[in-house]
């Protein structure tokens, strides 16, 4: 199997979708001729034609609105929002329209479309290229929210999302585009070439929406996370010699409560980590649900490791980023409680 980084895997996924589905259209700011600022749609316009892969005006609201209209006329659009930080001009179309068209029309109109957008920090992007706004979107009934953490899943989840009859937003951890990242910015960059999840099969395959994966089995503590922090959690467990069970959520809405609850009921201890700010972050939902399901199995309060309740800073990026040190501290606290 060819090794691919996450950009190549997404590009391959888009290519497969364009090949196998006449109704798939790919568009966004700089996404056509140029192939996207991260190159996720590179070469696809040349291969699939100007009116299947194209550039749009800089108007995220219109990108999503047009995608909605297209979807109601038989298309399966895949729209790119250049950075998750810039999804907010489209927020109204997502919250008030996209999420509700099936519901408010009682199934007469549906919007099977996918929004992909680079997400998260760790790339010195400052406050306007680093946000993790997933919690805004998990709060909207009718939208599915996906965060892949590796090339294999990125392609498989993308194909599953595009083929799904519900609207799906895929937040792509841009720090993982070129290689896994264990949370230490001073180490040389890693490559997907040596990672098992960098093996990306050719052709069509899917990774099911709504299913989490236990990426490391363990008995002492459960770490529930997604995106970039999956790798940080794995690294921290190794470093600290903790027998942690690590769950990569992959889909945040609807999230896989069964996998989480089974693990926490087994380990009795849990840490939830995400890069987004702490207050009203997605971790709050997870922890509330976990304590409802697993209260009598819990040996300690559930801890959260998150970004701070500040905008994502530029110079102090690594003091903001919930890296291995803070993760280790939380694990220790929960294990010792």
């Amino acid at each position: 199997m060819p090794a691919k980084n996450m950009i190549q895997a997404i590009n391959d996924g888009l290519d497969v979708l364009l090949d196998t589905h006449d109704d798939v259209l790919v568009f966004g700011e700089d996404a056509g001729y140029f192939g996207g600022v991260f190159g996720c749609s590179q070469g696809l316009q040349k291969k699939h034609g100007l009116d299947r892969v194209f550039d749009t005006p800089i108007n995220e609201g219109a990108i999503v609105a047009a995608a909605i209209g297209m979807a109601t006329n038989g298309m399966r659009p895949i729209a790119e929002i250049q950075f998750a930080d810039y999804i907010f001009p489209a927020f109204d179309q997502i919250v008030s329209e996209l999420s509700r068209i099936r519901y408010r029309s009682a199934g007469q109109f549906t919007t099977p479309l996918t929004i992909r957008t680079p997400w998260g920090g760790g790339i010195r992007g400052g406050q306007t290229h680093s946000m993790s706004p997933e919690a805004f979107f998990t709060h909207i009934p009718g939208i599915k929210v996906v965060v892949p953490s590796n090339p294999y899943d990125a392609k498989g989840l993308l194909i599953a999302a595009a083929e799904c009859d519900d609207p799906v937003i895929i937040f792509e951890p841009k720090r993982l585009y070129n290689g896994p990242f264990d949370g230490d910015p001073n180490k040389p960059a890693l490559s997907w070439a040596k990672h098992p999840k960098g093996e990306v099969p050719d052709g069509r395959y899917t990774v099911p929406l709504g299913e989490a994966e236990v990426v490391r089995e363990g008995s002492e503590i459960t770490i529930v996370t997604y995106g970039t922090l999956v790798h940080v959690a794995l690294n921290t467990a190794e470093q600290e010699g903790v027998d942690a069970e690590i769950i990569d959520l992959k889909t945040l809405a609807p999230y896989d409560i069964d996998t989480i609850a089974a693990s926490v009921n087994k380990t009795g201890r849990c840490v939830v980590t995400h890069e987004a700010p702490r207050t009203s972050g997605f971790g709050a939902e997870l922890i509330a649900q976990i304590q409802e399901e697993c209260f009598y199995a819990l040996e300690a309060p559930i801890a959260r490791v998150t970004g701070w309740d500040t905008p994502y800073p530029h110079a102090h990026e690594w003091s903001y980023f919930p890296g291995p040190e803070r993760t280790a501290r939380a694990i220790k606290r929960v294990l010792e409680a």
């Binding site: 108007n59 609105a65 029309s105 009682a106 109109f109 009859d165």
Partner: protein, 409 residues
């Protein structure tokens, strides 16, 4: 007068409660005066149309000029029938709302030509993205009145399962999109629909309507930008009925220019049309549809009219405008104008009109009786409660299943 250098210029309507409305200052072109270009005209060459006024019926209700669509009498009578039905339907629904039979209602009094002619001039396969005041278009598309009423009274036969406020109709079978309560969102969606149509090589066009108040939203700019960039086969209608709830069109930017003139900056064809003239609305829509179908791009149409009734049943217009302002409005009543035109042609009579009104009234009364036999919001039966948890996703997710069980339905 406020000093322009040290105060904000806040435009105001000419007349407030207690004033005597007088619209003689409006410079309205006469019928036949605004020329009709070819449907493939270069938008740069027809900019004057955005400041003109497409009118066909003159002050004697005779059809004049190039824009006369020369419709057969039977089409005109059909249009009259739809408009009369719309008005009687609206009247009846308002009364029923007052009696507590539904939570809310919105009339389209005085704007019936806009919705009826704007839909009749299109093909049945063309897709409509309306706002909440185009019920006449749904009637023109032949939607069953009982079904419309069942939706408004949210009963067991409401095709939207009680999920939407009254008048927010959805009817895929009539190529009628699901009406949003969020203003303007459907405008760029219509453009996306039309882009998909281009992709498929189809010949259908999309038509959407918003009010002049809503044209201030970013979605208006979104729609115009995408429509011009991708030359989407779209008709973008702005219904300038002078009022957005209590706010005059001058607050939406109507003081300095026309709403049709917005088209000029986008390189789109812009038409300003007498919205109370059935023939003018029909002709302009037909022109825009032919233009779109021919691949010549979108058209922005300002339909110049007047909202004769309250904004909705939650509104009291006597608090912000003169009571009789509509009577002073110079463009008249669209139904009376078409009726008089037909009489002038020898194709209609007062007696036939009275008979039509009677027939439509009976139709509405009978339809409501039937609708009510399926329940009302107040007394039920409603759609089953468990349907509240359906259609959020294609398949019910675990959280919704649990919440439904929690509610015990």
């Amino acid at each position: 007068m406020a000093d322009a250098r040290n105060s904000i210029h806040v435009p105001a309507p000419k007349f407030r409660p207690g004033d005597t409305p007088d619209f003689s200052h409006l410079k309205l072109p006469r019928a036949g005066e605004t020329p009709k270009p070819d449907v493939d005209a270069d938008p740069a060459k027809i900019r004057d149309l955005a400041y003109g006024l497409v009118r066909v019926l003159d002050h004697n209700n005779q059809a004049v000029g190039d824009w006369n669509p020369e419709l057969e009498a039977k089409v005109l009578r059909q249009g009259l029938r739809h408009m009369v039905l719309t008005r009687i339907y609206d009247d009846r629904m308002l009364k029923l709302q007052r009696q507590g039979k539904m939570s809310f209602y919105m009339k389209s009094l005085g704007e019936e030509a806009i919705s009826v002619a704007g839909v009749m001039a299109l093909d049945a396969a063309d897709m409509l993205f309306p706002s909440y005041r185009q019920q006449g278009g749904l009637i023109a598309r032949g939607k069953d009145l009982v079904e419309m009423m069942c939706h408004c009274i949210s009963n067991s036969k409401d095709n939207l399962l009680g999920r939407q406020l009254p008048v927010h109709y959805t009817s895929a079978a009539h190529n009628w999109f699901t009406i949003s309560g969020n203003l303007g969102t459907q405008f760029p969606q219509a453009v996306g629909w039309a882009m998909a149509e281009s992709k498929k090589g189809g010949s259908r066009v999309a038509s959407s309507w918003i009010g002049e108040g809503t044209s201030a939203e970013g979605d208006f700019h979104s729609a115009c930008t995408f429509a011009t960039v991708y030359r989407a086969p779209t008709i973008l209608n702005v219904v300038n009925n002078q009022w957005a709830i209590s706010t005059s069109q001058v607050i939406a930017g109507g003081e300095a220019t026309t709403f049709a003139a917005r088209a000029i900056g986008y390189g789109i064809a812009g038409l300003r049309v007498d919205g109370n003239d059935f023939l003018a609305v029909h002709a302009a829509t037909q022109w825009a549809a032919a233009r779109a179908r021919g691949g010549h791009g979108p058209t922005l149409i300002e339909l110049y009219s007047y909202r004769a009734e309250a904004h909705s049943t939650s509104d009291d217009p006597s608090r912000y405008r003169p009571k009789d302002e509509y009577k002073a409005w110079p463009l008249g009543d669209p139904i009376a104008r078409l009726k008089d035109h037909l009489i002038l042609l020898g194709e209609w009579t007062e007696d036939r009109h009275a008979a039509l009104e009677k027939e439509m009234t009976e139709h509405v009364v009978k339809s409501y009786k039937e609708a009510e036999s399926h329940g009302t919001l107040h007394d039920g039966p409603l759609s089953p409660v468990h349907t509240m948890f359906e259609d959020v996703y294609a398949e019910q997710t675990w959280n919704l299943r649990r919440q439904r069980q929690d509610l015990g339905v």
